[in-house]
Amino acid sequence: MVLVFPDTALIYLLQKVVQPKLTYHLYRNNITPDVNSTLPLFAEAVYSGYAPIDVLASAWTFTQVSAHVGELKALDLFWSNTSPSSFSVYGYYVTDSTGTVLVAAAKFDNAPVVVPVGKYVQVTPMLGSFSGLSC
């Protein structure tokens, strides 16, 4: 039989995924995430003033379903460089609330990104899923 996951449930299920929070991190090593990536591969940023950012379930305020694709977005995240020198990062990764499970990761298009003192890195949290068929 063909099991169908309809459009109506897309946002409902995505909102389950982001409970109670997801944590966003920057990474500083030159790796390109793929479906086989695991958490130990990512070297987290360590510059002075850096900290991962929690995105609470309530922060995912933008929802949309279009052409069988569901999307959640939260307000942009900013990591400011308050250290005494510039730093470089290659992308960001997302973990569960315990910080032990890799949920998603992305390499910046223009990686490495060099962040001068007083500047910041900006990331838009987004999650997507699509309705489909499973045999």
Binding site: T8, A9, V18, T124, S134
Partner: protein
């Protein structure tokens, strides 16, 4: 920039989706399930012996193989005690409030007749895949 949802996250993703209990139903109308199907498009069975079955997280077996995550539930019985055969077309999953359609499927041999005193077994399953999402 591609946002990648790796295999390691699939187990987490499915655990989150199935962490709350959901309900399993049978429907009795001949409807082709598509992505635009609504809960209101399904007619639930009402025969004697039928009842909605509640699926809790502990009943799911989760696995991730080949970038595909699969959750399979223990077989669920729907018994007909109505005194006559009953015809059903498929099964569907909702939230526990029975207001949100999560998934639906028509039986391969639909319509299926459940004889009086007979039982229709359903093995609920849910799948997901790891993938890259291209941001705008």
């Amino acid at each position: 920039m591609n946002l990648v949802f790796p295999d390691q996250g699939l187990q987490f993703w499915m655990t989150q989706m199935l962490g709350s209990a959901i309900n399993l139903h049978l429907f009795v109308n001949n409807v082709t399930i598509i992505q635009g199907t609504l809960l209101s498009g399904l007619t639930e069975a009402t025969f004697a012996g039928y009842s909605v079955l509640n699926l809790t997280f502990g009943g799911w077996t989760l696995s991730v193989v080949g970038h595909t995550g699969v959750a399979i539930y223990t077989p669920q019985p729907f018994t007909n005690t109505s005194g006559s055969a009953q015809t059903v077309y498929g099964w569907y999953l909702t939230d526990v409030a029975n207001t949100m359609l999560l998934a639906a499927g028509q039986f391969d041999g639909a319509p299926v007749s459940i004889p009086d005193g007979g039982t229709q077994i359903v093995i609920p399953s849910v799948g997901d895949i790891s993938k890259a999402l291209t941001s705008p």
